[in-house]
Symmetry: C2
Subunit: 317 residues, 2 copies
């Protein structure tokens, strides 16, 4: 890699989709310290969505990040910057402090292609408050070319720092990633690019490497791959593999040993056949995730028949 690469660890944010953000403060602190020791540039510490807008009935500190709380648990920032993700229609602008009063350095906006205008409105606001910003266009594998072209016209006029290629369904392969990166580079040449992968087809690391070699400079990953459904590209693979003298895998191995093995026993993510099938079919894993909660969870042939049937089947849940 001739360009500088940034690793953004999203264990807490994407992994929270696995366990409803049931992370202890100790774990989050250990993770932050370990990511810093490992040389990882960014840690996404959760969502900064609004509990009011989501009608939340219970507190959930990593889903509804609060600056006061963050300052308590991370009183002294290390080299690793902190980011938060927000969703369109779920974030309250009044919740966001100016960057100089916040522990957060970056706010990332996730949106579907039809909401890029709304996404960029939020980006502008966070940019004006002093944050680094990214626009994460989800479900790229479902986006028709002409919609992407229209969206890029808006993106070019925006101050957004990084535009993300998001393989939400874990259905892309390295050749497709390379093709997408070329397209993004050509259409928004002044923006940095990012990549966020899922591991449904065991291609998350390969896709991330391919993106990095094609010039993408923000690489999302999570420790031990913890993320929704099949999970993400593994942070321990990136810090081991990408050449940069500051990267150290040992602190990440320490987190896996101390925390992740037990978490993996209590919660499931990774290469699991129904997620492989949803990846092959280029579909959202939500049907597979629901299936994994039923007694039929390991009936792979039945699941395959269900999701490939031309007839609508009633979900047993």
């Amino acid at each position: 890699m001739e360009h500088r690469v940034n690793i953004l660890d999203c264990t807490i944010r994407d992994g929270g989709l696995v366990n409803n953000w049931d992370f202890s403060v100790e774990f989050v602190q250990d993770l932050y310290n370990s990511l810093s020791a490992a040389g990882v540039e960014y840690m996404e510490i959760g969502y900064k969505n609004s509990p009011k807008l989501l009608n939340a009935t219970e507190p959930n500190p990593w889903r509804f990040l609060d600056d006061k709380f963050l300052k308590e648990i991370i009183p002294v920032k290390k080299s690793t910057k902190l980011s938060a993700l927000v969703d369109i229609g779920r974030v309250d602008p009044d919740d966001i402090l100016p960057r100089e009063e916040s522990v957060l350095d970056m706010i990332r906006v996730a949106c579907y292609i039809r909401e890029v205008d709304k996404g960029l409105e939020l980006v502008q606001m966070f940019h004006d408050l002093g944050y680094e910003t990214t626009l994460n266009i989800m479900a790229l594998s479902h986006v028709p070319e002409h919609q992407l072209i229209e969206a890029f016209e808006l993106v070019r006029k925006s101050p957004v720092d990084v535009v993300y290629i998001v393989d939400s369904f874990g259905s892309l392969d390295p050749a497709e990633i390379e093709h997408q990166v070329k397209k993004f580079h050509a259409m928004v040449p002044d923006k940095k690019l990012g990549i966020h992968t899922h591991n449904n087809l065991q291609l998350a690391f390969a896709n991330t490497l391919t993106a990095a070699r094609s010039g993408v400079s923000f690489l999302d990953s999570s420790v031990y791959g913890m993320g929704r459904a099949a999970g993400n590209c593994n942070t321990e693979l990136l810090v081991s593999y990408i050449q940069n003298p500051k990267y150290e895998v040992k602190p990440i191995l320490g987190v896996i040993e101390k925390h992740m093995l037990e978490m993996r026993e209590n919660w499931e993510w990774g290469y699991i056949i129904p997620y492989m099938i949803s990846g092959i079919l280029n579909e959202h894993p939500r049907v597979a995730m629901a299936y994994r909660k039923t007694d039929e969870r390991d009936k792979f042939v039945e699941f395959y028949d269900q999701v490939t049937s031309p007839e609508v089947t009633i979900q047993k849940n």
Copy 2:
């Protein structure tokens, strides 16, 4: 893919390195029938090494394949051909029937680079007996360029049908695979090429896809990835992903559901941190495999320190 691709499932042979070939006849028969229904071209049903030469004290039908036994358990061959692997110095020429009297269609010879001459001698013998033959040069990531060039001079004069690129340590990435395939194509242009990968870095499928796209026509895989240490490229991914109307994933899903989940509970293979570390270090997984049998099995930091220490440490085993 414009060229015709053959999938060679080595679940029994490489998977046997995980469980000492503790496979029931029912499982092997189910696997054979399922691979045939899935359109998989070859099934490697074990090793055809000699129990005498290996001083075996117990019978082990998949490690010491016997034609009479094979004919009993597979009385009617389906479309899937059968192959066996032999090691240099472990195979007794008197054990090998002419192909027309055997259930086997292909014999593959595994060798290290220093034994290529011996390997090709065996290849010549199996070829003369009527078998399809392959030469599998192991541990390619440790082979110095000049040795490979010398070996290729011998290979060019041999009747061997397929020359395999074998990533024994699971340490190669797609860019390196592409580079190797180009080199092999240039140096033995008249031979078909094969690829055998290991999944230490979660790159087995990506490497296999890259090889296929670069013109490699024999792709090794195993169901649910079952193979030594980190395992192999997954058969279910290949039949799902490679475009060929005859490939069907459903029969493979059936085998996973019926057999592999339980086998995975009893035996371990796949993405496991000490195997990831041996992959990163480009080393044989035997030290990691021994470590996984000790009480320290999950002490990843200690393992990492041990295998990266400049001092010789005494193995606790």
